[in-house]
Symmetry: C2
DNA sequence: TTGTACGCGTTATCAC
DNA sequence: GTGATAACGCGTACAA
């Protein structure tokens, strides 16, 4: 049926080792034989069986990628970067979707391991002890996205969320805002959520602005949650002059709620986001936000993995990519 | 290092065949021995090596998925469905992103083949002779998404784009619209684009409405293109009362252009879309559109593949999933 | 430079 | 019910 190395060898009147040598050019082969083998390969349409190869080499040319939600706008763009660079280096990606469930994540982590993946890129929303435990006993390279995981001795690629949030808050303050709500992505184990909060708090403190607990909301990346959070502010009549959502999607939720309650954005309330997903500039008003180099995050992550696989020494344990505040139409000065 | 079946056998004082039998319970094993083996497996943390297994079984538990753009809102949701159901049946997916380039597609098609995938799900925007040629000589199951490919004898899962476009056009007409622009996704090889056009034309003809060539635009799923197309209508002063974009993204482009030119949507111009991606209800005005069961499309596709892999006979060559017109705020009656 | 033979970790076919 | 042993397709010492 399918042609194997043996068939090629026979047809070319050489041994399988010779064939093996020409396809991998691992050892010198006389030009004449080389050509002959090549021709037979051409004729038969032979392609090496990667499974057999994996078995003996203990390599799979596979990289596992674990994400909490493929259809998330941010994540799918990261995936784009991972996939493209991966293919460039002849690596395929094995995709695992966890829906943010720790159990699934751990299951996939083990699954990937047993599938002989050569590296793992993990994008998780929460970082737990269980992760740490798993990661610590792995011999294959692992890279985390979206969070400084150096405390776990895991390489990571991310922007500086703390600084980004700081800059955005400062930007808001400079525009004259004093009551600034923060709709953030989580607490405790939630990755960048805590960093972002710190950045926000730092800016507020620097300007001696009061952090009103009623204006700090925890939403797990859910647009609906952001909507509800703002609705609560409306109901309690504590609507601020500015809302900083640490995710563009949540910013949309906030704006929609505002609009539905008769507020105008940005005339009555300024709203800013974080990430700069595609829709940030499609939505109206166009969203002022912190741009992350989303594609690049994925691209860098897989480059690091591949370098590690090849045994290159990686000095940094954390790759911090640049971010940028992009001013658009959802925020105004009220000075 | 890693524990193999041999280690387990030795430690449990049985032969590897016996171990194999208990992990696959392929043949009866005495209860006593079974327990013993199970315990050793537990102790050692042994997991069968799927690569070795693949080699002998000639099965990889891998399904290749080829898409034109991972970060496309529609596609990533389809991927969600594919991944989830796949994992349920213990299949992993090998992801390939083509950026819509035929060359890449063909390359990946062959790559996947050599990676021993057991099936391929292909989502392409254009369908060419080259595809047909490749598909026709494959022995592994292939299913196409988003297009009736029965002419190529390929199973496909999709909604009825023709009917969907027909219903939407009819809906618009019933609302009193007569000048209805169509921003569609392509011509010739472009999959559902031609079906959608037919549906549109059918409705227009049924009502004896004139199809104004100046109002028919071809855009390859590009929001910017839709924006420009509408801008052209504005410039030429041929703005219709309704615009039907065959993709939600293109509808956003159309609306944004309208707004930027001082038109109100839907008061001045009604705009409707197609697909009902997440953002259709986030964007304001919320988009009236044709809802596709996006997740289900992916789910059904992979179910079909798996059934085929298992040798089950699939009667239908085309799976048509239901669609639904969802009325929201971007369209009004002008009667 | 080339060929032989073994091993990678399993499953499956035989015997026992 | 259990245990050798031959595949599966390939890479690679080791010999020649």
């Amino acid at each position: 049926m399918t042609v194997t190395i043996k068939d090629v060898a026979k047809k070319a009147n050489v041994s399988i080792s010779t064939v093996s040598r020409v396809i991998n050019d691992s050892k010198p082969v006389s030009d004449e034989i080389k050509q002959r083998v090549l021709r037979v390969i051409e004729e038969t349409g032979y392609t090496p069986n990667p499974v057999a190869r994996s078995l003996v080499m203990k390599k799979s040319q596979l990289i596992g990628v674990i994400v909490p939600d493929i259809s998330n706008f941010f994540i799918s763009e990261v995936l784009n970067g991972i996939e493209e660079i991966g293919k460039m280096y002849n690596y395929d990606i094995l995709l695992c979707n966890t829906y943010g469930e720790l159990k699934q994540e751990l299951r996939y982590l083990n699954l990937l391991k047993s599938k002989q993946v050569e590296g793992i890129i993990s994008m998780t929303w929460e970082l737990r002890e269980e992760h740490k435990e798993f990661f610590s006993k792995q011999d294959i390279p692992i890279v985390m996205i979206n969070r400084d995981a150096s405390e776990f001795d895991i390489t990571s690629v991310s922007i500086d969320h703390r600084q980004g949030a700081y800059e955005m808050t400062k930007y808001l303050i400079d525009k004259g805002h004093k009551k600034i709500a923060l709709i953030r992505s989580g607490t405790e184990n939630y990755l960048f959520g805590v960093d972002q909060y710190e950045g926000y708090a730092k800016a507020m403190n620097e300007y001696n602005l009061n952090i009103d607990k009623k204006l700090i909301k925890n939403c797990q990346f859910k647009l609906e949650c952001a909507y509800d959070a703002v609705q609560e502010m409306v109901d309690k009549k504590v609507v601020p002059t500015a809302i900083f959502a640490t995710t563009d999607s949540m910013a949309f939720g906030a704006i929609n709620c505002l609009i539905d309650n008769g507020y105008r954005v940005p005339e009555d309330v300024s709203v800013v986001g974080f990430n700069d997903i595609k829709f940030a500039s499609i939505y109206r008003p166009q969203l002022t936000t912190i741009r992350q180099p989303i594609y690049d995050i994925g691209a860098v992550a897989i480059r690091v993995i591949i370098k590690k696989i090849k045994g290159e020494e990686i000095k940094e344990n954390i790759f911090t990519l640049p971010h940028e505040l992009v001013e658009r139409d959802s925020c105004i000065s009220i000075k």
